[in-house]
Amino acid sequence: MRAPRPAARALALGLVLLLAALVGCDQPPETELGFRVGYPDIPSTLLLYVAQDQRLFEAEHLRVESKVYATGREALAAAIAGELDAAAVYSTPLVLAAMHGEDLVVLSTLHRSDGLTGLAVNPQAGIRTAADLRGRPIGVTPGTSSQLALDVVLAESGLEPGDVRAVPGQPRDLMAALEAGELDAASLWVPNLLLATGPGKARLLASEVYAEMSMLAGMRARIESRRMESRRFLRALLRAQDLIRRRPQLIESTLRPRFPQLAEAQLATIVSHSRFELGLSNLLLSTLRQEGAWLEQRGEPRAERIRFRDVLAPGLLEELAPESVTLLRPPERPPP
């Protein structure tokens, strides 16, 4: 066999080197970044749990420092105070903070559910319908969704917030007071609502029309300065969402060890009434506006005219998962 000519050999070598260069030309290794997030320890933060358990943050080269708070309102307060990059929070505390002038942005919803925030009614209080709540002591956690849930139940029965005696308190305290008979009802959310109600316990009284949404929010300047970290955080959550879509059993196996106090049926109730999805939608915008109007009606001070559309920051999510953003874009503003 004739030996290949030098030119042919050089050409072949060049092709091999080019191929090797193309194959080896991968993305440079990402440097690890840090991200601090706070959240209440409730089932609605499932996507965070899945991302942690499945090491999806590590896969994104993101070192996540997480801190658990009693309520989303406290987590949001920590974010506003600069202790966190983002907080998992329900709509009410967020709207309230925005009305107080905090420059917040919502990166994405984390979940939405219905029937999982409502009243746990003392069975000995003789309350059959919402109309029977008039003049009763009812526990509520101010500045949280429990307040709105109570108001909706009252409004559906033709009552005003002032028609009941609101007793403020943290959920644990309210549960203890309810059990001790000091309260006739308490406005709670899961898992406390399900733990407080059931056979031999308090009776559940919830509005069919009230639905809650949790979301990932943070201070605008902080999020913008930590855009890369926020992007990786969201990408990990999107992977978590994909995981539970492909393996729905992952929802229960993730929640079960975190909430051992919940019975199997209670856990199933939570799962069946919840949808764990990232997104920025008109429904969220409508909810924020509705709650803003409600809080304003209740006399909450408002720093300035709020454009809730500006609170939603679809940029990052739209880059990562365009289909998750169904928010109608506002018309371009003319330059000042």
Binding site: V152, E323, T326
Partner: protein, 487 residues
């Protein structure tokens, strides 16, 4: 594979690739067009339904609020009709091939429909302010949620354009990759074909041409080893032809050299008797002038006759050589009594042998018959006896004739000094002469061998230094005895 096929196949391959390129482009374009058309039509249909839904939602809200405000009951039927159409439209949308998140949004909307219609009825049926207020709150919550979901559905539908564009872009990327791959393959095939034609066709042709130009100078055409195509065949033909040309050229050169040698020897050998003849004639002329006696003139005349005979013999040998080399040695074959022929030749050569002081012994079988030309066989025997007399003077010469099973054998043996080794190998070649040999053309043995071989026989020679030489003529034995044999 033939050269024609080798050249045509790559062209066919390139044509096929070009056709594949064109077909791919056409298919991709058609697929993209259909994809765009189908998706656009589907989006338009969905968009129109959503638009109609939004209109019905707004109508229902307006009718409901008007009805609650005026309590005329005239709009209740209209609300019911609107609700029926809304449900119909939702059914139609749900039957489509919606995927997430549109499917999820449709589910949300359908799930809200029941409580919403129920809230509408409660609000329409409320006749006191408290019930109206609580009914309104419930309806309002549900209605604003339904509107928000509808807005999301509309937005998702609008985003379908992006999805279509993404699909088209994805298809385009794949087709671009395919087209690029096909183009690269096409280009490589063209390059390989060009390289093949250069190395496989042009280069061998150039080599053959260059080699052919050197044939005249003694060069040869190389064989294209391993090629079974037309070029291989051409190289083989050219190589064979060249080989034959070289061989023919060598033969011609040899023939020319032989002719020159022949002419040189012939001129030399003919000149000697001619000189002798002219001297003898001059001597006779002088003696006649001096009045020489009759006896002296007779002796001189005999010498002249011998010289003329010698000349005649030389010319005969030269003519024989010419005939042999032209393949025109004619034989007049007939049945011959070889024993008689041998006896006759030996008797005729007695004087020659006596002159050489050779003692001749004959050992002849009787009635040895042979199919032969008697004059040529006579010539052969005279040559052999003459050789023996010249080269083995004074020795005993034995002539034997006998039949074997298949041959007739004639042996002439002398007891002379033998033939030197340096001469043995070319003894039967024309003009071969031993060093110090007697004058002659050196054609006797050559002609004898040719004559014997023309009879289908052969001549063997055995010689040993100081022990003599034996020539044996082998002739095919005649199977039938002739009725009247010559000899």
């Amino acid at each position: 594979m033939s050269l024609a096929r080798k050249l045509v196949l790559p062209q066919v391959l390139i044509l096929g690739l070009i056709a594949a390129l064109a077909a791919t482009q056409w298919l991709v374009s058609r697929h993209e067009r259909r994809q765009l058309e189908d998706s656009t039509r589907r989006l338009q249909q969905t968009g129109l339904r959503i638009q109609r839904l939004a209109q019905l939602f707004a109508d229902t809200e307006r009718d409901l609020l008007s009805e609650v405000t005026t309590r005329q009951d005239v709009l209740t039927r209209r609300i019911r009709v609107s609700n029926e159409e809304i449900d119909l439209l939702l059914d139609e949308l749900s039957r489509g091939d919606a995927v997430a998140p549109a499917r999820t949004l449709l589910e949300d909307l359908r799930r809200l429909r029941g409580p919403l219609v129920e809230a509408q009825r409660a609000l329409l049926g409320a006749r006191d302010p408290a019930r109206t207020r609580s009914g309104f709150v419930r309806w309002w919550f549900l209605d604003q949620r339904a509107n928000a979901v509808l807005a999301d559905l509309s937005a998702d539908n609008l985003k379908g354009v992006d999805r279509i564009l993404a699909q088209v872009a994805s298809t385009r990327r794949r087709s671009d990759l395919l087209l690029f791959t096909l183009t690269v393959i096409c280009a490589l095939t063209v390059a390989a074909t060009a390289l093949y034609v250069l190395r496989g066709v042009v280069a061998p042709v150039v080599r053959l041409t260059a080699a052919s130009q050197t044939v005249g100078d003694g060069g040869s055409v190389p064989l294209l080893a391993g090629r079974r195509d037309e070029l291989g065949a051409l190289s083989r033909v050219l190589a064979g032809t060249t080989e034959r040309l070289v061989a023919t050229n060598a033969e011609l050169q040899e023939a020319l050299a032989l002719r020159e040698r022949f002419l040189s020897i012939a001129a030399h050998e003919l000149r000697t008797p001619l000189t002798s003849l002219s001297l003898q004639l001059a001597l006779i002329q002088r003696r006649i002038e001096q009045g020489a006696d009759r006896e002296t003139l007779r002796a001189n005349g005999e010498s002249l006759v011998r010289q003329a005979h010698r000349l005649s013999q030389l010319v005969g040998e030269l003519l024989d050589v010419t005939r042999i080399q032209r393949g025109r040695l004619d034989l007049h074959v007939e049945p011959v009594r070889l024993d008689h022929l041998v006896q006759e030749v030996c008797d005729r050569c007695a004087a020659l042998l006596d002159a050489g002081q050779n003692r001749l012994t004959l050992d002849l079988e009787g009635e040895v018959l042979c199919q032969a030309d008697p004059s040529r066989m006579d010539q052969v025997l005279v040559n052999l006896l003459g050789n023996a007399a010249r080269h083995a003077r004074g020795s005993a010469i034995t002539v034997r004739l006998w039949n074997s099973a298949h041959e007739t054998l004639l042996e002439v043996r002398d007891s002379g000094p033998g033939i030197p080794e340096t001469v043995r190998s070319r003894l039967f070649e024309p003009f071969a002469r031993a060093p110090g040999a007697a004058p002659g053309l050196g054609l006797g043995l050559y002609i004898s061998r040719e004559i014997v071989e023309a009879h289908g026989g052969r001549i063997d020679m055995m010689t040993a230094r100081g022990e003599g030489t034996a020539f044996t003529v082998h002739l095919p034995r005649a199977l039938q005895a002739p009725s009247a044999a010559t000899g």
